[in-house]
C-alpha cells in the first residue's frame, strides 16, 4: 500500500512529491516518477480516492475545443478574420462561420468585423500545433460593442463563472451590468461606470479568494455591503 504525502487542498509546487505507491493515479498537473506522484505545476491539490490532480492557479490560456473566448480582431485575410485570444495562439474565424449572410467574393469584410473589434466567439477546433478555428454561430456569440475589458487569470475563470454560471449571474443581477466571461481570461463588462467598477472589484476579489471556502457568500456580502 502506498501513502499520501500531501493533503487534499494543499498548495503544491513543481517537483513536489505528492504520494508514494503504484496504487495512486496521476491526473492533470501531475506525473509519475518511479514510485512517486509528483506535481508538475503550482496549484491546489485535489484528491479523490486514489486519483490526484492539480487545479492550476496561474498560467496562460491555451485554446481548447468548445471554449467560449473573447477575441480581438487583429487581421483580415482572404477568407476570414484572425483574432488574438490572449494566448500564444491566434484563433481563425472563417467567413462561413462568421455569419449566415452570403458573402460575395471580394466583399468588404470590415462590414462584419473590423480590426480592433472585440467578439465573444467559440473555439470549434484545435490542431496538435494549436491552430484554432472559431465560430460566431451559437448562443451568446456576438460582437461586443462598447463596454470595457478586464483581464483575469485564465485559471480563475471557472470560479468567476461559478457552478452553472451562478457567480456571473450574481454579478450581473447585483450590478445590472452586461458581463461576458471568456475562458481565455478576458472579461467584458458594460453598464453604469460605477456599477462596472463594483463588478470589477468583485471579480478581483473572486480571483484573490478563488481557492477558499464559502466564496459565494463572501462575494454576496461584498456586493451587498457596497451597494
Amino acid at each position: 500500500m502506498g501513502k499520501m504525502i500531501a493533503n487534499d487542498k494543499d498548495i503544491v509546487v513543481p517537483g513536489e512529491n505528492l504520494a508514494e505507491g503504484m496504487d495512486f493515479l496521476p491526473g492533470f498537473g501531475t506525473y509519475r516518477d518511479g514510485d512517486n506522484i509528483v506535481a508538475l505545476m503550482v496549484g491546489q491539490l485535489r484528491i479523490s480516492g486514489r486519483a490526484l490532480k492539480i487545479v492550476p492557479l496561474s498560467g496562460k490560456y491555451v485554446p481548447k475545443k468548445d471554449d467560449l473566448v473573447i477575441g480581438n480582431v487583429t487581421d483580415i485575410t482572404f477568407n476570414g478574420w484572425l483574432m488574438d485570444v490572449n494566448s500564444a495562439y491566434h484563433a481563425m474565424l472563417p467567413m462561413k462561420d462568421a455569419t449566415s449572410d452570403f458573402i460575395t467574393r471580394g466583399a468588404d469584410l470590415t462590414k462584419y468585423f473590423k480590426i480592433g473589434d472585440w467578439v465573444a466567439t467559440q473555439i470549434t477546433n484545435v490542431t496538435s500545433q494549436k491552430l484554432a478555428d472559431a465560430t460566431m454561430k451559437g448562443p451568446g456569440l456576438k460582437k461586443l460593442t462598447g463596454g470595457r475589458i478586464i483581464y483575469v487569470s485564465p485559471s480563475k475563470v471557472p470560479r468567476i463563472i461559478g457552478r452553472q454560471g451562478s457567480m456571473v449571474s450574481l454579478l450581473k443581477n447585483t450590478t445590472g451590468c452586461r458581463i461576458v466571461v471568456g475562458q481565455n481570461g478576458v472579461v467584458w463588462v458594460d453598464g453604469d461606470p460605477q456599477k462596472e467598477q463594483l463588478a470589477k472589484d468583485a471579480i478581483r476579489l473572486i480571483e484573490q479568494e478563488a481557492h477558499t471556502q464559502g466564496l459565494t457568500e463572501k462575494i454576496q456580502a461584498f456586493l451587498g455591503g457596497s451597494k
Binding site: I11, G15, E16, D33, M41, S58, K60
Partner: protein, 234 residues
C-alpha cells in the same frame, strides 16, 4: 590552508542571509525576487507567447529564451554600459541551459517562454541569484516543470572550500576558484557548472557536496515563498 575565518564571519558551508518573494512584477505572467546578501535579482516570465520571426519556432514544443542584464548602477565599480556584453550574453546562455531541463514545454508548440533577469545590485553570485529568481518566476507563471532548479556558487579561497562567495572573497589576496553550480532539486543532476581558478579532483567531490547543501537550503526558500504567495491568494 590559510583561509580559516571568512571575511564576513560566516561558516564555510553557510549561504549568505537570503530573502525571496514570488509575484513582484504586476505586468509579468510570473515573477520573483531573490536576494543573497547584497546581490539582488529580479526575474520576470512572459509567456508562453507568440514567437516571431517564424523560423525560430519549434513545432514540437515551446522554446525558452533568457535575457540577463545588470542595471547600469548595479556594480561595485564603474557604471555598466547598457546594451549587453559578451559576459551577459554567455550568462544568459548558460542560465537557459540551467533552467530548460526542468521545464516541460511540450504543450506549447511554436511558442516562446521569455525570462528576463535584471540585477539592481550585485555582490558576486549574480548568475546563481538570477537562476534562483527565474525558477520561482517560471513556477509562478504556471509553466509545467518536472523538476525545480536552484543554484549557488562554491569557491575555493586560499585552500578552503566555501559556499556562496562574496565579491570580497572572489577578490581575496590568494588563489581563488569560483564554481557556480545549478542542480535539479529532485534528481540532483547538474545543469550549470562553470569554473574560474584551479582545483583538484578531491576538491571537486567536496565542492559538489557543498553545492548540494547550499542548493537544498535555497530550494526550501523557493518552495516557501511560492506557497506563501498562493496560500494568501494573490
Amino acid at each position: 590552508m590559510t583561509y580559516t575565518k571568512r571575511l564576513d564571519g560566516r561558516e564555510m558551508d553557510q549561504c549568505r542571509e537570503m530573502e525571496a518573494k514570488a509575484g513582484v512584477i504586476g505586468r509579468a505572467d510570473g515573477s520573483a525576487m531573490f536576494r543573497t546578501g547584497k546581490t539582488i535579482a529580479y526575474a520576470a516570465v512572459y509567456g508562453p507567447r507568440n514567437l516571431f520571426p517564424r523560423f525560430l519556432q519549434n513545432p514540437e514544443k515551446g522554446i525558452l529564451r533568457v535575457n540577463y542584464n545588470m542595471m547600469p548602477f548595479s556594480s561595485k565599480g564603474e557604471r555598466v554600459r547598457p546594451g549587453g556584453s559578451r559576459r551577459s550574453k554567455e550568462i544568459a546562455f548558460v542560465t537557459k541551459n540551467a533552467l530548460l531541463p526542468a521545464l516541460d514545454l511540450s504543450e506549447f508548440p511554436n511558442s516562446v517562454v521569455d525570462v528576463f533577469i535584471e540585477l539592481p545590485q550585485t555582490d558576486a553570485g549574480t548568475r546563481c541569484a538570477g537562476i534562483n529568481a527565474a525558477a520561482i518566476a517560471l513556477a509562478d507563471a504556471g509553466i509545467p516543470m518536472k523538476d525545480f532548479v536552484a543554484s549557488v556558487s562554491v569557491g575555493k579561497v586560499d585552500g578552503t572550500v566555501v559556499l556562496d562567495l562574496t565579491y570580497d572573497e572572489e577578490a581575496y589576496d590568494g588563489p581563488v576558484a569560483d564554481i557556480p553550480i545549478a542542480m535539479l532539486t529532485r534528481s540532483g543532476e547538474v545543469t550549470l557548472l562553470q569554473m574560474d581558478g584551479e582545483v583538484n579532483k578531491e576538491d571537486m567531490k567536496k565542492i559538489l557536496q557543498l553545492g548540494q547543501k547550499g542548493i537544498n537550503d535555497i530550494h526550501k526558500l523557493q518552495v516557501k515563498v511560492l506557497k506563501e504567495k498562493y496560500q494568501s491568494g494573490e
